[in-house]
């Protein structure tokens, strides 16, 4: 078994999930079954194969340039009056579970 209870606890922590005891047991079972299947990828020798993040890597990228300049095709001219104005304050707060009308409110961040 690849994924242990300890792994599930660690990963749930990274993902900001708590998970009930029943969910954890189920998760161990499901993740192991899926990862067993995924392991077939190790049959392939990919030593000299470059990774691909998305197909735009193959379209429009200017290979003669460096860094983010390679993706110049995806950029546009700066505009002074933005494409869309920032959301008005009240609209930005309209969906907030809790706010004081100026800020989003959350439970205490620092414990002491």
């Amino acid at each position: 078994m690849k994924v242990t209870e300890k792994d599930v606890t660690y990963v749930a922590d990274l993902a900001n999930l708590e998970l009930t005891l029943a969910e954890r047991e189920r998760m161990i079972r499901d993740l192991n079954s899926i990862l067993d299947y995924i392991d077939s990828l190790s049959e392939l020798d990919t030593t000299n194969v470059p990774p691909m993040a998305q197909i735009s890597d193959r379209f429009g990228v200017d290979e003669s340039r460096q860094g983010s300049a390679r993706f110049a095709y995806a950029s546009r001219e700066d505009v002074h009056e933005g494409l869309r104005k920032s959301l008005p304050h009240d609209v930005a707060l309209a969906n907030a579970p809790d706010s004081d009308g100026t800020f989003f409110e959350v439970p205490k961040v620092i414990e002491r």
Partner: protein, 484 residues
């Protein structure tokens, strides 16, 4: 007005020729939804006020004898992963149960600008994660052709609404097959355009390098019309490519004689239902009779597509879904005393089982010590899968395959076995990974009257060719049914 088989052209003509009004057409669809959707479950939210206001605008144009826009008065519906200003948008999740977006998705705005009437928002798997629509936090969708079966997923509501004549057409999203597979299960047309063809501004993100918006329609012509409306550069989405958009409807009329059509043996192996195989083979035979040259090809890495997909899609999802934290919008767990407890409680209660499973798998694949073995490995295999297609497309104009290995399965049949559910996407995920376009067009039905879909895959940005092949094939089926 008979809503059955009503196409975009029919609906617009009826309004244009004053046989109906956009308002009465929309009302007729709402009446149909009210009577039929109780047993199907395709809609999550209706936006009648918005629809009737839009319909009134169209009716005024028609009354004054002014030119009607391309989709003038055509009732459509939108998968609930695309945001709609002022209309609740949930992505099928409890965590967005009370979310009212401040803006419209570009694709939706373009439909409305072309005169379409948005009737409402369609059910789907939570955050578009699923192949049966059973992961919706709200209710399952029943396949209109057999209510005991799933409509496919994740755009299950979209496929069911079009199949049951509760919308003329719909927009869905496809990350691993979520437009094409439900289209095939419900007997409608589903098109996934090339990655970068259609803006995703306002599409709630699942896996950003794989997400596509695409139409579900009753005919291939309707899919061509809708693609023409939603395609093209959008300054709000930098991944939306600056590639000229052809006149897809005009392209349908070109001949298909002499086109080379690839058939890959990897798509006809173990796990393929016999009736689906026979139906797809008959469709290939038909394409040969219509003058296409059938070429045997190989896409050798196909069997690695599902494992590759489930690493890349879940890794990206784990990052995209980090934004749901109960602070700025959506559900917040009540009574949490610390920030950390609030985050966890919100996500624990707000997300469903499949979403948590994918967040966990994706986080695991990205975590220290596993990144190279899983995520980087999958990205390398993604290159191999894409090269497979690039090689084959040097020799053929399109590739045909079954859309799904089986017809629609029973509700509940696969819910306890995530891996079995994932394998429902075995013929569709490859196109998402390679970023190429694909269309599913009905090609027959099983002895139990369940629809079967033929998938046609094309070169990057060459939707025109797959639409044309699908259109000519569809016309040949119409002719045959008229003969018999």
């Amino acid at each position: 007005m008979n809503l059955k088989s009503l196409t975009i052209h029919d609906a617009r003509s009826a309004v244009l020729q004053r046989k109906s009004t956009a308002t009465s057409l929309a009302e007729a669809f709402y009446t149909k939804i009210q009577s039929d959707d109780l047993k199907i479950g395709a809609y999550l939210t209706l936006c009648k006020e918005r629809a009737l206001a839009k319909a009134e605008e169209i009716d005024e144009l028609a009354e004054k004898g002014q030119r009607l826009p391309l989709l003038g008065g055509v009732p459509v519906a939108i998968k609930d992963v695309m945001v709609t200003k002022g209309v609740r948008t949930t992505a099928g999740s409890k965590i967005l149960g009370n979310y009212t977006p401040p803006d419209d998705c570009t694709a939706v705005a373009r439909l409305e600008a072309a005169g379409a009437i948005v009737l409402g928002k369609l059910n789907c798997d939570e955050f578009a994660m699923g192949s049966s629509n059973e992961n919706s936090a709200w209710k399952p969708v029943h396949n209109p052709r057999d209510l005991s079966r799933v409509p496919g997923g994740s755009s299950g509501g979209a496929a069911a609404a079009v199949a049951a004549d509760m919308a003329v057409a719909a927009l869905g999203s496809d990350t691993g097959g979520s437009v094409r597979q439900p289209a095939s299960f419900c007997g409608v047309v589903g098109l996934m355009p090339t990655y970068g063809r259609v803006s995703r501004y306002g599409l709630i993100a699942f896996a950003s390098s794989l997400d596509h918006i695409g139409p579900l329609t009753k005919t291939v012509r309707d899919a061509a019309i809708l693609l023409g409306v939603i395609a093209g550069r959008d300054p709000m989405d930098s991944t939306c490519a600056e590639v000229p958009v052809p006149d897809y409807v005009a392209e349908l009329e070109k001949p298909i004689k002499g086109l080379k059509i690839g058939v890959a043996k990897e798509y006809f192996g173990e796990g393929l239902d016999n009736e689906v195989r026979k139906s797809v083979e008959a469709a290939i035979q038909k394409l040969a009779e219509l003058g296409c040259e059938i070429v045997e090809v190989s896409l050798p890495h196909t069997k690695y597509a599902i494992p590759t997909y489930y690493i890349i899609a879940t890794a990206e999802a784990s990052a995209n879904l980090a934004r749901f934290d109960g602070v700025r919008y959506g559900f917040r767990a009540p009574e949490a005393r610390t920030l950390s407890a609030m985050y966890r409680g919100t996500r624990d209660l707000g997300f469903g089982a499949e979403v948590k499973r994918r967040i966990m798998l994706g986080t695991y694949a990205l975590s220290a010590g596993y990144y190279d073995a899983y995520y980087l490995k999958a990205q390398r295999v993604r290159t191999l899968l894409t090269r497979d297609f690039e090689e084959v497309f040097k020799r053929v104009h399109a590739i045909v395959t079954p859309t799904s290995p089986t017809p629609a399965f029973k509700l509940g049949e696969k819910v306890d076995d995530p891996l079995a559910m994932y394998l429902a996407d075995i013929y569709t995920v490859t196109a998402d990974l390679a970023g190429i376009p694909g269309i599913s067009v009905p090609c027959g039905q099983t002895r139990e009257n369940l629809p079967i879909g033929l998938q046609i895959l094309g070169k990057h940005f060459d939707e025109a060719t797959i639409l044309r092949v699908a259109h000519v094939y569809e016309m040949s089926r119409v002719e045959e049914s008229l003969k018999s």
